[in-house]
């Protein structure tokens, strides 16, 4: 049991772009591909990864209990880990629901993630939104970073900010996941394209995930969408990203708008400016 895995932080700057959904799906996907994965929720006070994974009722101890200075309160790290029953390769280390985001230090985070790499191939850290203490904690132990953004001006701006901050603290070459892309809006020139965002952020692309209502449905149920027997395009995109993380060369999904037919074309003709 000395795998010496990778610690990868999943971050975005802006909230609500799909960081936690991405974390849950990539964790589940990598685990389904035979890797031992632990998801670390670094969003203190606003933990949600347990809910997205459907593990909320099984939280007993949190990362804070494993770090307690008081020996009688302290639990072992493996006691705080929740093993997923659907996917035995996957575990979750829940965040504490305390409001105090400075409850743990970057050094403590570093030692926890380092300890986890001894038994897991992938330690995925779900970073909180923002660039304050919680962000600094989340990136502290990471050797690689994934930046999630959507093709919106505010999300791209914030992504640029966290890319800069991570590079300044030695976390270089983050890779980008462009989430919630709407191909028909790009086609109508009403949304930035993959190329537009890559041109602006100047980082390497890890994957593109189309907007998908299924995300809401699977979140309602607490079942990451990659678990589905008939994966949607977005679920397939997450599975492809997981394979790229394993070093496979997987072509990017071609997110073309389906042929609109004659009437559709006619409408589009009028819509064109």
């Amino acid at each position: 049991m000395s795998t010496s895995g990778k610690v990868i932080v999943i971050t975005s700057g802006k909230g609500g772009v799909g960081k936690t959904t991405t974390s849950a799906n990539l964790g589940m996907a990598l685990a389904s591909m035979g890797k031992k994965v632990v998801l670390v929720d670094a969003d203190f006070g606003l933990r949600n990864l347990d809910l997205l994974l459907g593990l909320e009722n099984r939280v007993v101890y949190t990362i804070l209990d494993a770090l307690s200075e008081n020996e009688s309160d302290r639990c072992r790290l493996d006691q705080a880990l929740i093993k997923d029953k659907r996917q035995p390769n996957l575990a979750l280390l829940p965040a504490a629901q305390t409001r105090d985001k400075s409850a743990i230090t970057p050094e403590q985070m570093k030692s926890v993630t380092a300890e986890l790499t001894e038994s897991y191939d992938f330690v995925l850290v779900d970073c909180p939104a923002g660039i304050e203490q919680g962000f600094k904690n989340a990136i502290a132990g990471a050797s690689e970073a994934i930046v999630v953004t959507t093709p919106e001006v505010s999300a791209v701006r914030d992504a640029d900010r966290v890319i800069g901050l991570m590079e300044a603290s030695g976390l270089k070459h983050p890779r980008l996941i462009l989430n919630r892309l709407r191909p028909h809006m790009v086609e109508e020139n009403n949304m930035m394209s993959v190329e537009d965002v890559l041109d602006i952020l100047a980082i390497k692309l890890l994957g593109v995930v189309p907007e998908d209502e299924q995300v809401i449905i699977t979140t309602n149920k607490g079942e990451p969408m990659v678990l589905s027997a008939t994966p949607t395009q977005a679920a397939q995109a997450f599975l492809n990203i997981a394979r790229r993380m394993l070093g496979e060369d997987v072509p990017f999904l071609s997110l073309q708008v389906p042929d609109p037919g004659f009437m559709g074309k006619l409408k589009a003709l009028f819509r064109r400016r």
Binding site: P151, E152, V153, V156, D160, N189, M191, M192, F270, R273
Partner: protein
């Protein structure tokens, strides 16, 4: 449908929102990316530049203004360094000495030509 069409007709010719997003982002990021530099870092850089420049030039006074100037999506580092003269240092001194020698040689050749005539 009719309103849609009218709306499109009246907004014709405006840049599309995708392009506007790109342009606005490029502008704001040009600022964001350089907003982080601290005055301490700027001061350190100013002093280092001054040291290098002083090796080659005699300056008006030991003052050097350095600042960031932004225009559109480009940011430039602008330094304003009034100089008095080239410093006759090692390299520049050697270069000047050679140049003078050549000049003298040329002159003497010319003068000898005159004598022959």
């Amino acid at each position: 449908m009719v309103f849609d069409l009218l709306d499109k007709l009246f907004t014709r010719g405006q840049p599309n929102s995708r392009q506007q997003a790109c342009d606005r982002l490029k502008m704001v990021l040009a600022y964001d990316r350089t907003a982080d530099i601290s005055s301490e870092t700027m001061e350190n850089m100013r002093r280092e530049i001054l040291q290098v420049v002083k090796r080659y030039f005699e300056l008006q006074d030991d003052e050097l203004e350095v600042g960031l100037e932004r225009s559109g999506s480009a940011t430039a580092l602008i330094a304003n360094i009034p100089i008095r003269r080239v410093r006759p240092g090692d390299d520049t001194g050697a270069f000047l000495a050679t140049a003078t020698k050549l000049e003298e040689k040329g002159l003497s050749e010319e003068s000898s030509k005159i004598k022959e005539e």
